[in-house]
Amino acid sequence: MTFLGMPGAPRGVGQLRQREPFPQAAASALGDRQLRRNLGHATSTIRVKRAAAVAEVADWEQLRVAGAAIKDEVLAHLDRYLVQLEAQVVARGGTVHWADDANQANQIVTDLVRATGQAEVVKVKSMATQEIGLNEALAAAGITATETDLAELIVQLGHDTPSHILVPAIHRNRSQIRDIFLKEMPDAPPGLTDEPAELTAAARAHLRRKFLAAQVAISGANFAIAETGTLAVVESEGNGRMCLTLPRTLITVMGIEKIIPAWRDLEVFLQLLPRSSTAERMNPYTSMWSGAAEGQDFHLVLLDNGRTATLADPAGRAALRCIRCSACLNVCPVYERSGGHAYGSVYPGPIGAVLSPQLTGVADNPDLPFASTLCGACYDVCPVAIDIPAMLVHLRSRVVDDKRARHHGPIPDTPEAAAMRALAWAMSDQSRWAWALRASRAGRLLGRRRGRIRHLPGPLAAWTVSRDLPRPPAQTFRDWWLTQPRASQRAAASPGLCLSPRTHPRGDEGETREGGASKAARRRAREEN
């Protein structure tokens, strides 16, 4: 399936693509014990807190349903809302720019900064500007951009890339952060310890002069209200307020899907977002402004960069509901172990696995839809109820379709396809299947030492690249069954128990994909509505 006339995010700019296949990237991350400890500690902490913050809200499921519906309405009529937002921002003294892709957006922002005559800008943490590689583009134009969010500052000073949507330096622990500050921050106090409060104070002192002198700021936006032209930035540290308020010129870069229709709709998202992301009842600071506030020069850059291509897929467009809370990262068993860098894109974790391949086109991120166990925890916690597991399955099929479409001539068989065909042949006949199971005992020749098979031979080796295989049992279940007395066979085969191969019921496949918790959540949502 391709979407004609809907180009994805261009190559060679920004950070949306895998640099190496996910299994390799994850393997090197898994080998880093410090990284695993940092991640395990951080994600388990936030999981517990989020659950408590959400449990406190009696109408959480109803808010979720409303949040999903509001976003779907925006996506369904995005053309109208974009035009409305533009008219409102312009009516209130702002200027609106439209950018097809990362290159255009970078050019627009660079030109706007140049027009001010400034060579330095301060930045509020923004996923959109990370996505398009704005800092690199500005640097190429001789403009220095200073990240002011603490975690982004840690990433920038460490010459690193973000690994989490909310806490980009989640992969660093306190002593690593102290080392980065001592090495890269000229005004860091020499006796700096690794106490988070002291590290934070050092960052405050470092950035304060920049804030008070800044003439140009660049931000993202969490929400843009079409009805009123109001932009909203949700933050904690006050660096957002500093950037949004003090400089004369404010440039906001925003993905076109960040719109919500009406002022009133904020009441839903200002409940869903803080509790899902930082597990707070409310984040410390939220700034809202409509057009040129308090005499500022305000520019809004509306960014496509693959969003319309995502919008064109009816089974994938719900990924654009995402409000970047990162709850799905924190509950994901894959993310918790591999960390964010393994995904290659600024959008890691479950949401990244569905968003990045759609923004770039699946050909450029072919592994990401497979970087999941489909356990469903991400869907359970998603405040806008994005069915990420179903979308992953859909994108897996798009990856395969895309490979087929781009291949000229007959496609050579993969070992996986050959194995599946052999399995289908064996399973379609009872005696063949019984023979195949017995034959599998030959596998007992392997893995004798550890009781597990670490490496399969020949083309089967692909299976054991990223997993061990249990050693086959000495006796198959069927053989054991035949040794049992008839009476106990009959008792076991009574309705409700499916022990006998002959009485195995059909159907129910639809139930196997989702995790149990996810099903329970759906049932709850159904009952409450």
């Binding site: 806490v167 405050r204 500093m242 003090l246 009842r281 509505n529």
Partner: protein, 210 residues
């Protein structure tokens, strides 16, 4: 033109969707919270604002000036910015008030020890105050640059929920929602209060029973 191109792409991408979608609002909307007394809301607001390490004091209207002066003294703050429209009887006992009229520039704000303001709305459920740069609140920079902020909330300004607050606010004005002092959880997800905004937030609730 990118504008037309993006709109064209959007229309093509959504051609399969017809009609407006239904938005079910079965959550607790504005005004639907069970009726609460001003004192009940003030109790909840005080508790929730306190959870975020804002220091909350409550007083009768007649004691406001004294309570504000005591709070400022307890912070060892000397130079206190007083915005236009801040009730004169409330700032009467401040030893070193600095009038924000004409508006102080950034350097002058940076020289202050703190500021006192009123607010537009307060939210009981989340312990949030909202400023809309109206009378008694100063500009957005006024409550941002100094390291200490004391906000006075009248009990009648406290609403129960976030939807109540959204309904009470005017989006045409610049709004700042404040829930406790600035904070970060960027280092190992450990919460640290006091980053770039005011590191100390005091709240005085006026007109409650205590």
């Amino acid at each position: 033109m990118s504008r037309e191109e993006i709109l064209r792409r959007v229309r093509a991408a959504t051609a399969d969707i017809a009609g407006p979608l239904d938005i079910p609002r079965r959550y607790q909307t504005a005004g639907s919270a069970p009726g609460q007394t001003d004192d009940g809301l003030a109790d909840r607001f005080a508790e929730r604002a306190g959870d975020y390490r804002a220091t909350v004091r409550r007083c009768r209207a007649a004691d406001t000036a004294q309570v504000i002066a005591d709070a400022v003294a307890a912070r060892a703050a000397r130079l206190i910015g007083v915005p236009r429209g801040f009730p004169a009887e409330w700032s009467a006992l401040l030893p070193h008030p600095v009038a924000d009229e004409p508006p102080l520039d950034i350097a002058a704000l940076d020289a202050l020890d703190g500021v006192v303001t009123t607010c537009a709305v307060a939210i009981a459920e989340t312990g949030t105050i909202v400023l809309d740069t109206g009378p008694g609140q100063g500009s957005r920079a006024f409550t941002l640059v100094p390291d200490y902020h004391l906000a006075v909330v009248r009990t009648g300004q406290i609403v129960a929920t976030v939807p109540d607050a959204v309904a009470a606010l005017d989006p045409a004005r610049p709004l700042t929602w404040i829930s406790g002092p600035s904070a970060t959880s960027d280092i190992e997800l450990t919460r640290v209060e006091g980053v770039h905004g005011p590191r100390t937030l005091d709240i005085v609730i006026v007109g409650s029973r205590r």
